[in-house]
């Protein structure tokens, strides 16, 4: 009986749920009008009061825009006024949140370009001092060092992260909740603590020297939670029908996992790995304690310090002269570009977007 009821209900055409909070043309028009009035008012206020420059105008705007929005709604009663004022506050609030990030990207790129020349990507700092003119020396050693250490970290963290996700989603063992909870909690381990831990174990006990493998291990600790989390989300997308079909054909769980489930979500797993890499590529603190910095590319990953982009930035800042700080900005631009590229790759493989359907 329930069956017939349910299927009958399915056949009844029902309206798509509407979104009452969606903006209509009228509300948008009102907002644009209020925005213009508030902008003019804010400019006037910025002239009269000590608020100066574009930021001063924006601060004035933060007060005038919600006020004007409220005044425009005056005819529709006090609740409409409150509603419009909050709309103004939310719009201004979100814009003000974006300002610093736009500033970060813009500053890094504009200041980075000043110290950038073609050879910056292809030379190291072996024969140059950080304070040398900006057409000498570069970050090739740091780029290679970062790539090597991040690659080594991925070799450790990506399989472990995927294994943790398989345990939670595929095996659903008794400890699934515990493993999930602790991998999540692990994402909060301060990066400096990961560095200290690897220093205490690998550097002090085993190698007695700073080296790239130690740096990679510290990065792996920080990378694992991101990989595990993303891989888990991707694994959950795989339909249970697929697993059931595979097992109905007599496949073992190993075969189901490796020949049905994992190939289905290959691109999602790549996303998980790339997001993990993006998470750690800019880590500085753990590397200061494990692989440190060296002016030249080091070919031995077990022996001696190895440069990386973050530690290059850090050590150039430490020198503190105009030219070395300019180098730090240029290296920041390289690092930021690297991370943005990684992010774009992760988006292109689109493991996250699959969640939406």
């Amino acid at each position: 009986m329930n069956f017939t009821l349910a299927s009958e209900f399915e056949s009844v055409p029902h309206a798509e749920p509407r979104q009452p909070w969606k903006n209509t043309k009228l509300t948008i028009l009102r907002s644009v009008f209020s925005f213009t009035v508030a902008a003019v008012l804010a400019a006037l206020i910025a002239q009269v009061t000590p608020l100066a420059g574009r930021l001063g105008w924006f601060v004035a705007m933060a007060f005038t825009f919600p006020a004007v929005m409220a005044v425009v709604a005056y005819k529709r009663g006090s609740r409409a006024m409150a509603d419009q004022m909050v709309t103004g506050i939310v719009l201004i609030g979100f814009t003000s949140v974006m300002i610093p990030w736009v500033s970060i990207v813009a500053t890094v790129i504009s200041r980075g370009l000043k110290a950038f020349y073609v050879g910056f990507l292809t030379t190291d700092m072996l024969v140059n001092q950080p304070d040398d003119p900006l057409n000498m020396g570069g970050v090739s050693h740091a780029i290679v060092g970062t790539l090597i250490q991040v690659l080594l970290a991925s070799v450790v963290a990506v399989p472990l992260g995927i294994i943790a996700a398989i345990y939670i989603v595929e095996i659903r063992g008794r400890g699934a909740g515990v493993v999930r909870f602790f991998t999540q909690a692990m994402s909060g381990v301060p990066s400096i603590v990961a560095g200290l831990f690897v220093y205490a174990t690998v550097v002090v006990t085993i190698t007695h020297k700073f080296n790239a493998v130690a740096g990679a291990l510290a990065l792996a600790i920080l990378m694992l939670p991101t990989v595990a989390r993303t891989a888990e989300e991707v694994l959950k997308v795989v339909s249970d029908d697929l697993r059931a079909s595979s097992q109905a054909l007599g496949a073992s769980q190993v075969a189901t996992t490796f020949r049905v489930v994992l190939p289905t979500i290959r691109s999602g797993l790549i996303t998980a790995a790339v997001l993990g890499v993006a998470r750690v590529a800019g880590e500085t603190a753990p590397l200061l304690l494990t692989s440190q910095y060296f002016v030249k590319f080091n070919t031995n990953i077990f022996d001696g310090p190895m440069a990386s982009l973050p530690t290059y930035i850090f050590s150039s800042l430490g020198v503190g002269t105009d030219n070395s700080v300019a180098r730090a900005w240029a290296a920041s631009a390289v690092l930021l570009t690297l991370i943005f590229i990684l992010f774009t790759i992760a988006r292109l493989f689109g493991g996250r977007n699959r969640k939406s359907h």
């Binding site: 009986m1 009452p20 909070w21 903006n23 609740r79 409409a80 409150a82 509603d83 909050v86 709309t87 939310v90 609030g93 979100f94 949140v97 990030w101 970060i104 500053t107 890094v108 200041r111 294994i163 398989i166 595929e170 063992g173 400890g175 515990v178 493993v179 602790f182 999540q184 909690a185 692990m186 909060g188 381990v189 301060p190 400096i192 603590v193 990961a194 200290l196 831990f197 205490a200 002090v204 600790i221 939670p225 595990a228 097992q247 073992s252 769980q253 190993v254 800019g282 880590e283 500085t284 603190a285 200061l288 304690l289 973050p310 850090f314 800042l317 900005w329 920041s332 991370i339 992010f343």
Partner: protein
Amino acid sequence: MQADAELEVSIDIPEHRKLQVTQGTPDRIFRYIITTGAYFSLAVLAMIAGFLLYRGFQIFSDFGLGFITGAKWDAGSGDETAPAVFGVAAMLVGSLVIAIMAIAIALPFAVISALFLEYYAPLAIRRFLISILDLVAAIPSVIYGIWGYAILMPHVVGWSKSLNSWFGWFPLFDVPAPIFDRSPFVAGVLLALMVLPITTSVAREVYSQAPRDQIDAAYGLGATKWGALRTVVLPFGKSGLIGGAMLGLGRALGETIAVYLVLNLVFKINLQVLASAGGNVASMIATRFGEAGPYELRALMAAGLVLFLLTLVVNALATLIVNRSKVQ
């Protein structure tokens, strides 16, 4: 009575059968390997605590509770005239002050951004804005640090001066000398920016799960958008927001390089947040590590353990709260 019983039988729908797979040897090996691998991450957490305790144990036995309550950090001269004294109280207080300040600044903006992304932003650009949020969460802390020092600090110093001249009578905003750069306040503002993405995305996720029927009901009763948000969405998301804030707090407590670059390290319990003196445990470890002798290294390990346990507790609580608010 008879009819009822018959009806019950006819309603009886077979349960979805639970898959029962007879395990072969390969499956058993597979499960064994995966289970071991999965528990490895737990083992790493235990090992972090274990090794730091092992390396720092001598410090805990030498100084006892004084390591937590003492504010003095001095490696000494190595002989009896000036013995080494280690205590993390100043740094611990500094960590908490900066992190709490960061969350207090970030939280209103996180709520506003989450509401904007979920209920105000045009659908066409919503997804784009959300991926921007993910992207800025990945900006390295050293870049936040260099930007914070060069661009943000001059602005914040200006705000500090205004705060000090208007509210200087209030002990927290008083300063011993009119130097406002590299203060805990600067670090707090910078960290607020750094924890904003994670707090916002947790808040947004929770707000997106607010019950649709109740929102519709609020609209049906004639509520404005703000009315619906205030009566349905905000109360629903309260616990999730607290969880997100604590997650941000955990991040802020452990931040190293950005704080190192914008804060003047002074080993003194300093609650005057505008004054140019402060510190946090993480940046103190990074600062002292380079020049530390063997004994001070042990003290740094002990400090690392304290920081690790503190952030672990905060994060575990946050995860619990966030997970529970999602189940509702």
